[in-house]
Symmetry: D2
Subunit: 349 residues, 4 copies
């Protein structure tokens, strides 16, 4: 049973595992105050071409989101997100648990666009309503789509106009950056965002996300916030080790390229077999529409995530690939599909 | 520069590192819903001789504390802790951030005793004050002392009398269980506590703590609380792997025995050199009283944690050992001390 | 300048003012523990025909909502409300500030209907999402519409099916109960709701709302919640005095009848003048659609609440009446409108 | 049964009741945005001799405390208070419910002194602990003592040195200002505090407290905080009416003078009868030490607040007077005590 269920089914890439083992016996300072973390930060700063940002390593994405958002907002302020945004749906109310409302923006193919932000801000006019103060976006989004540079720029402008922070959740940023139709660069992060995080968990690490703070106003005492929200790892160097490796040479994007190539091979192959897609994507998540019979057959051999019912007979499922996805598994899946199709045709013929 | 600064300076014990590498390529379910976690839980239950408890693996101690406490209490309820209790001092207000007051109990050698609990509860008489609803204890405590079975039993009785939960923070439980003067057993956890956690981070793991819930009323929907507080690890099996190894045979206590033996060797050796201790302990943390000159000399060769100033010339420091502490380092430190002493005597002679 | 801006522009009805003055010199217990509050509760229970409910008096509506909701829900649970629900839009995130998400239900003429609740609950399937646990409705709604008995019954059924509490915000309940097309009774509150509040502020009192708890599970320690959320009035008897008067004989509904009669007279009169309405209502809030010229003219003589722009030339405004609205002011407004119309016709003629 | 139980047993002073009745029928804007509130604020500013402060009227003290503190602090910041401080003991954890820790300072006769603040701040050294950011004091304190100008000045200096806000809870400020040994003036509030509130509830009003913000950094969007914490009164002018009257001429202090005179007459009279006091005070709360027999006898005729057991036979009680306390009741109580004493002497003789 091969799993296309998500991009965190396996351990870490071999470079990271090797470094973990090599550094295992050495002593180092706790809580991320060690030389390995420092080296990892240095490499990320070089990659982002930004020397003035602050970098903090946390274990997971929900932790990053709640820590960044609760740290940035005053109690009566709210964060704007897409309807399907991770913070709105899939964090069990972690943001609200820190006291803040998530304002839902109309969803444009998984994305928050500047016009939607503008409408929300203008509808919040006085002290009887929350004050929108931050825009949360994911790139790639929860449905595998990506932002264009122009969209980011427009968001930056609307944020500047209304005094909002722009926060980019980069759990799958690497996959966005290597997508065929992407025009966003590492440098654009500093240019357009106030704060973002670069995902490790879904891109080669055992765990770990790197919060990067560009805006000086968000930097002060951030370590207090990490500790208070439960995100300060005692053996913090474990995060440093992983990001040091990911950002050695081009490893981070190399791993992402493999993930994306595998998903795109799947998508292309399935399209050639006549399968249509809810929203074709260029990253490592794809959303085929499958009829019931195919889904039942597939269930016996493959793990996937059920996404939703389209109509009586058709379902949307999500298939995800990662740095660890075996090309042979992709080929076998396509072969299986082809053979299933032929079988079906015979049955109908 | 050798570090006796804490018990999380190194990586993981070799059994864990090996298992990490071995399982790295396999696929498994996310968020702790996998077979390795199941196996780890089974082993812990056997060790605790309790089949009905629920077990959840989290990454760190502050996460455990905030998740357990916020999940157990109603909004106006408070948790009782010793003045020096980890939740009261060293978690940046993580408990208060979930909305709950920490009520400080008089500290008896680092411990909360039943009489102190009784006094607090009786002083909280009406709806203008918080309602005490849980007692938080650490075993071993933050200053290396341990609870006796009789003390736990008395706490259980006062908790039953007043309708309080008893929660044991076992970040260093293994070290308590192997202390020479300990009479508490694994089985006593289920007998006296409503919930506890068994620490992995400080006892051989890279990270990880196992929350064990004995009281049925605390079990419902605990995974929602984990997720909401940011403690649900995507690759949850990493926690399972570590606890599966720690609870294979006697490894967990074996690692603790080494840690404690090292600290006790240090304590005994220093006492023989005429050094007195703030509170002699029987676990892996020791608290020697050092004069200023010695401290300055020591600083050049060893890392320790500064604990507090006793008077003009004397300081308390904390030395901590772990499963990873090298006996040769302990011997060298004692040798260094001896030679420092001789040097001093010569200078005075 | 006469104000139809809201239903809290004046003080209290004369019966209340008289009772306030009469009782001013007497001594009584603080925090609502006094005989006057007891008497007020007794009268409300008689009116609701329910002897087993608990009643608590609070100062304002947002206080009631945050106290009731935060007291009822566990941390990871959420409350379902209409998009335009007061708790979702007009309380500056007070519910989120207690840690809970407000889940938005599709809005059916200002109301939450059972089918919408069902859809939300079924979309929240696991611990990565909040658990819906309460339905919040307002009767009359924020746009003046009211629930039918059948709708309440259907909500009760869906709540029972999914283990949800039903909470009715009755800031304008009196106005709903006396509406011409209403079929809900006082007794239905106990029959269908777990908890509700009867509004005083908008129906004859200086301030004050009566929280009525029917479900035993919500009763325990509610006074702790009131105190913690800042809602416990020192001179609590002031609330008792007001509700004792409102629930003496039929005063509460009598005041509401006047409010509704005034709004309906306005609505009918405006319709006769050819003005159309966004949603015609049968309570004390009406929502005429006015063209720009009329709005500009009206602005000089009357206060109203601007509700929203319909198109280039047309606006929706809200006019509200209360127990204190003078019939002469209503007549004068209609006369002014008539004369404005004639003027317009002359200008065009 | 006459009550010396607290200073909120009666309604409001006659000037306020008259103004309430007079303004009852007029229409005004909601939520404190009305001319009466403006006038009240103007008068307070004149009294404080400060034109630049912001003033907001809230209903009660706990509301003020939670709103001011939660608005001023970042999530990981804490407020310092005396052990017996109202926010630490008698607000059911309202401050913690907003996410903030209350750090307990050693109590010096009910007061927080600069040296205690310094010790707390210096003990909080890194991100593993909360960051102290505000000092909360009550003047008069919860046990009737008052601050000297020198003490306030020293607190201001330590606050400036460490970057802390100084917040004065003035629930009984009027009684402090008129105490015989007081040397603090209205002007000193602006000089030494960043924010304070002037109590109305305990000094002649039905309810109401005036939050006065001196420090510009605390002013922004304060109305959002009021609304979010449930403290925005719909008919906000009711608060304006009361403070307009209290700050007309010298009424506020005149009422306080009566309250204090009554308590001091009681204290002096009781001392003359040989009764000793826990801490003699110069304000409107007094704390006599009574033996058991006297307490039992007194219980039949007078209400008081039980404060604590001193030893087997002796108890501390609190007697409180207010603007409404009748001098005849004071005289009768002293007469009753005298006659009780004589009776006792006869019995023993």
């Amino acid at each position: 049973m091969y799993s296309f269920n998500n991009d965190y089914s396996e351990g870490a890439c071999e470079e990271i595992m090797r470094a973990m083992v090599e550094t295992n016996g050495m002593q180092s300072g706790g809580y991320g105050l060690d030389e390995i973390c420092d080296e990892a930060k240095k490499r990320i700063k070089e990659k982002l071409n930004c020397t003035t940002c602050d970098i903090h390593f946390l274990v997971g994405g929900t932790q990053c989101n709640q820590t960044v958002i609760a740290s940035a907002l005053r109690p009566y302020e709210a964060v704007i997100a897409a309807d399907g945004g991770h913070i709105n749906v899939h964090e069990t109310g972690a943001i609200e648990a820190t006291g803040h409302k998530v304002l839902v923006c109309e969803d444009r193919n998984g994305k928050v666009l500047s016009e939607g932000v503008r409408r929300i801000v203008e509808a919040h006019s006085d002290e009887h309503m929350v004050r929108p103060a931050m825009v949360y976006i994911s790139d790639a989004t929860e449905i595998g789509t990506i932002y264009t540079k122009a969209e980011l720029q427009a968001l930056r402008e609307v944020c500047d106009a209304y005094g909002l922070y722009l926060y980019l959740d980069g759990a799958r940023l690497a996959m966005a950056l290597v997508a065929e139709d992407n025009d966003v660069t590492y440098e654009d992060l500093a240019r357009y965002c106030d704060v973002c995080y670069l995902g490790g968990t879904k891109c080669g690490a055992l765990f770990g996300e790197a919060v990067v703070i560009f805006n000086d106003r968000l930097k002060e005492n951030f370590r207090y916030s990490i500790k208070q929200r439960g995100g300060m790892l005692a053996k913090g160097r474990l995060l440093g080790i992983q990001f040091r490796e990911l950002f050695r040479d081009d490893l981070y994007l190399k791993l992402a390229r493999h993930a994306v190539a595998m998903a795109q091979k799947l998508q292309k192959g399935m399209m050639e077999l006549g399968i249509s897609f809810a929203t074709p994507t260029s990253t490592n998540q794809i959303f085929p529409i499958l009829n019931d019979a195919l889904l039942q057959a597939m269930k016996k051999h493959y793990l996937y995530q059920y996404w939703g019912k389209l109509d009586e007979d058709r379902h949307i499922v999500r298939l995800v690939t990662s740095w660890a996805t075996k090309e042979s598994a992709v080929d076998e899946f396509l072969a299986w599909l082809t053979s299933y199709r032929k079988q079906q045709e015979r049955n109908c013929g």
